[in-house]
Structure formats: C-alpha cells, structure tokens
C-alpha cells in the first residue's frame, strides 16, 4: 500500500464501516454480511469491496473526521445488530479511533465564521456540514455513505477545494 493518496474525511456511514471492519475481523461471513447490510442499507459490500475499502484507507496519509461524526457513529442509530453489542463495539472502536483516526472538533461557531457554510448547516445539519468543512479546509476527499444529491450543492461553496464521493463510487475503478 502506498500512502501518497492524501488525507480523507469520513462521514458517519463510512466511519462506521471502517470501525466495523476491524471489529468483525475473524467473524463468520453471515455475521459480517448481516452487520454490513444494516450499515450499508442493503447495498452489497462483499469481501472484495471490504478489502478495497481497507486498502483505500491504508493508502491515505491520514483519516480525518469530526467529533460530531464520531458521536453519530457511536450512537449506532438504526443498526440493531451492533446496538445489541454496543458496549463491546464501542470498546473496540475507541482503540481504533485513537490509533488511526484524527478527530477534529468543528463547532457551530467555526462553521458560521466561514463564508458559505451557514447554508450546509441549515440544509444538511451540523454533522454533514462539519465533514464538508473538513474537506474544504484540508482540500481533500470526503467519503459519504449514501447518495445525498443535495450535498452536491456544496460544490458551489466559494473556493471549495474538495471532492465529495460516495463510498461505492469511490471503490469503483
């Protein structure tokens, strides 16, 4: 793996998948598939995609996310399988987060002080806006879990220097 692909910002879904990949290492296929199905909303995330995702992240100079995204991910909203074992999952995730993810605090004040960021806050909420802001300030890719067509509007941010990519699109080559 070459680490010359620059930093990447992870949104809630991809961060959860990253943490789950590590947490489910060694688990049987049925369990892994069940959990990825619930995280990735029934979209296929087979072994080849899991491996590509892992390698793609290893190739990045750093993995960035905001405290807001981490808080969302660890809530495990809508992930009944992980919710049932939330303590073990969070325990494993804390180690992974501390070891390989750079957490950056993005406050409302920070976003409001930047030109053009009040609109994403209003339209998409603080968490999504925080990932766009990270992408903007670090001039890097932002990996999201779902198609959020409205987020494309973020491209019209004055001087935006990031690419917002859906995880599935990102793993296509």
């Amino acid at each position: 793996v070459s680490r010359d692909h620059g930093p990447i910002v992870l949104d809630t879904g991809p961060l959860l998948m990253y943490l789950a990949l590590d947490y489910l290492e060694g688990a049987n296929k049925a369990r892994r598939d069940k959990i990825f199905r619930s995280i990735h909303r029934n979209v296929s995330f087979d072994e080849t995609r899991q491996e590509h995702f892992k390698v793609m992240l290893q190739a990045r100079s750093s993995i960035l996310t905001s405290s807001l995204v981490i808080a969302e991910a660890l809530k495990l909203r809508g992930n009944t399988d992980l919710k049932a074992e939330q303590e073990q999952f969070r325990h494993a995730s804390l180690k992974k987060l501390q070891g390989s993810v750079t957490e950056i605090s993005v406050t409302l004040a920070t976003l409001m002080s930047e030109d053009g960021f009040s609109e994403p806050v209003v339209n998409f909420g603080l968490t999504d806006a925080s990932t766009l802001w990270l992408g903007h300030t670090h001039e890097c890719d932002v990996c999201t879990g779902e198609e959020k067509p409205a987020l494309f509007g973020a491209y019209s941010l004055p001087g935006a220097k990031f690419r917002r990519l859906n995880i599935d699109k990102m793993l296509e080559f």
Binding site: N28, K29, Q58, A59
Partner: protein
C-alpha cells in the same frame, strides 16, 4: 384428522415475517453478492485462506440463530432442497478446480521467470509488494490471475506493476501445463454461475409468492 401435509401448510404471517427477515432476505442478499462476483469473473480466491471467500455453502449465508428457521422452511418446502444442494455441490466442484488451477499457476516455472523479469524492470520489489514476503509474490500474482483481476485500483501498491504487466501474465493461461486446469476451472465456474442464477430466481419467486399468499410485505419497514 389426518396429519397436515407439510407442502400444503400455510404459515402464519408471524412465521412468514421470521422467514423473510432471518432466512430469505439474507440468503437472497448473500447469493446476490455471489452472483455479482461471478459476473465480474472474480472467484474471490484468497491464497492465504486457501478458499473462495465470497462463495460459500448456502447455509453459511445465515447466522447460526436462523438455522432452525431455514431447516423448518426446507422441511415444509422440500422443492427448495434440490436447487440448494445443487449450489453446494457445484461450489465444491468449483473450489476443487480452482485449487488445482491456482497450484498450476503458482508453481509454474514460466510464471516465476516472468515475475522475476518484470520486477527487475520495475521499481524495487518492496515498493511493489510492500510488507508481503518475497516467497509470497508468486501467490499474489497467481491470485490476481485466478480472480481475473485485469486492473487494480491506484491505491494498491501493486497497481502500477500489475496494470502494466497483467496481459503478459494472463497469456500464461494458454501454456500447456496451465491451460487444462484453467479451462476446467472456467467450466466449473460457468456451471456454478448457472446453478446460482437458477437458485436465486427460485428463491425470489418463492419469496414473492409467499408474500402475496400470506399478505406479508417482503420488507416490513417499507410497508410503513
């Protein structure tokens, strides 16, 4: 009263819901992923595991807690048993042929020579293969060949090397000491894919019929 004929037994909506959520939907999803890999020509062979990681016996797509539901469903619908067994038999056959194919490729002297020449003409081998020990380089390349990986994404350290030389490596399949095992694996893959396709169609039809007969939506959440 005569005992209920299992094939005419009409399950309750609660039972159908459980079959959908714990058995049929995960199975159709898992087998769909198998078909997706097959359509890409990717057999998902991993030399370190010595198996096809995404292609597994039907029951292995289900978590152990759901096995009693699966067994009950098969008992009440024995018409599903033959296509399920056919899948598992064809998979076993495919795995056996792939094992032979991989062995023929990885131990081939022409491959080893081509590999060594290609590495010499490129960057230092450690930059290509990273932390992989040199004795495993032929395994990595043989795995790409077996899985029909014609192009690697740029984030793989092996991408530049492989994407440049892959055609030369794929040409090795025509060699007399690889060709027969390649063709046998191709045949087994074709046969497995056809059986897999049939099984998926059968399961989808079965789920649909069950849903309409029992008036139970396939996905509860979508039914509101």
């Amino acid at each position: 009263m005569p005992p209920a004929n299992p094939t005419t037994f009409v399950p309750s909506p609660l039972m159908v819901r459980a079959w959908f959520d714990t058995v049929l939907t995960p199975l159709i999803h898992g087998l769909g992923m198998e078909l997706g890999a097959m359509k890409m020509g990717n057999l998902t062979w991993r030399y370190r595991d010595c198996r096809l990681v995404s292609l597994v016996p039907v029951k292995s797509h289900l978590v152990a807690d759901a096995w009693p539901n699966w067994e009950q469903l098969l008992e009440l619908h024995p018409e599903l048993v033959p296509p399920v067994e056919a899948h598992d038999r064809a998979l076993e056959q495919l795995a056996a042929e792939v094992r032979k194919y991989f062995a023929a490729v990885v131990n081939n002297p022409t491959l080893l020579q081509l590999l060594s020449e290609s590495i010499e003409s490129a960057m230092p081998s450690t930059e290509i293969f990273g932390a992989i020990p040199p004795e495993e380089y032929p395994c990595v390349v043989a795995e790409y060949i077996v899985n029909t990986i014609h192009r690697l994404p740029s984030y793989y350290s092996t991408a530049a090397f492989w994407n440049t030389h892959q055609e030369e490596f794929f040409a090795l399949r025509e060699l007399s000491d690889i060709g027969p095992s390649w063709r046998a694996a191709e045949e087994a893959a074709k046969s497995f894919e056809a059986i897999l396709d049939d099984l998926l169609t059968t399961l989808r039809r079965f789920r649909n019929t069950l849903s309409l007969d029992a008036n139970v939506p396939i996905f509860e959440s979508l039914a509101g």
